[in-house]
């Protein structure tokens, strides 16, 4: 079975600084997807960034980028130029390839990020 581990329950960063959130996962699959979701205090989960395991290039979305290390089964999220609006719970999630006929997301326990002015 697949598992996702986020070892940092809480992180804090000053506005405009850079912060990295860690995620490791366990799977025997070779094709899969990894995601970072953001859940602000209002609770609506929003997709931040997605990485396809068969792509070697790390995904980037504006201030958000990932460091995907497939052999190490590591998937960290870097937030550059942190903003107050980045304050939220961040979840790392895993999904098997669609050939298994399921789009189930398997989530980690989350990292609460606080951005200070």
């Amino acid at each position: 079975a697949q598992t996702v581990t986020q070892s940092q329950p809480e992180m804090s960063v000053q506005e405009a600084e850079t912060v990295t959130l860690s995620c490791t996962y366990d799977t025997s699959e070779s094709n899969y997807y990894l995601f970072w979701y953001k859940q602000p205090p209002s609770r609506q989960m929003i997709l931040v960034i997605r990485q396809e395991a068969y792509k070697q290039q790390n995904a980037t979305e504006n201030r958000f980028s990932v460091n995907f290390q497939k052999a190490a089964k590591s998937f960290s999220l870097k937030i550059s130029d942190s903003q107050l609006g980045d304050t939220a719970m961040y979840f790392c999630a895993f999904m098997k390839d669609r050939s298994y006929n399921t789009d189930k997301l398997i989530f980690g326990t989350g990292t609460r990020l606080q951005v200070f002015p």
Partner: protein, 119 residues
């Protein structure tokens, strides 16, 4: 574009009572998901629908939980009877449900959730 709608936003019930949650997905989205998020944990998939058919309900406690998606649009999730451990946020999500094969995936869009407290 309207997002995923859920109601009610909050519900408090006594144990052994029944409760129902409603979800309206984004227009045109064929796939609908119900996740359970217990405090301090990540969401866990309860059931996935493709149109009005069930794709995955392997983690749905079928002795007390039921879900339906009539006409392939709105969905309801019911708990009967509720237990203390059912206290959680119930999240509904939807995705386009593209008929792509391997190496394709859709973005799941989440609703605001329903916070259930069982006393």
């Amino acid at each position: 574009e309207a997002g995923v709608a859920q109601s009610p936003r909050y519900k408090i019930i006594e144990k052994r009572q029944s409760v129902a949650f409603w979800c309206n997905p984004i227009s045109g989205h064929a796939t609908l998901y119900w996740y359970q998020q217990i405090l301090g944990q990540g969401p866990k998939l309860l059931i996935q629908f493709q149109n009005n058919g069930v794709v995955d309900d392997s983690q749905l406690p079928k002795d007390r939980f039921s879900a339906e998606r009539l006409k392939g649009v709105d969905s309801t999730l019911k708990i009967q009877p509720a237990k203390l451990e059912d206290s959680a946020v119930y999240l509904c999500a939807s995705s386009l449900g593209l008929a792509g094969g391997p190496r394709t995936t859709d973005t799941q869009y989440f609703g605001p959730g329903t916070r259930l407290t069982v006393l």
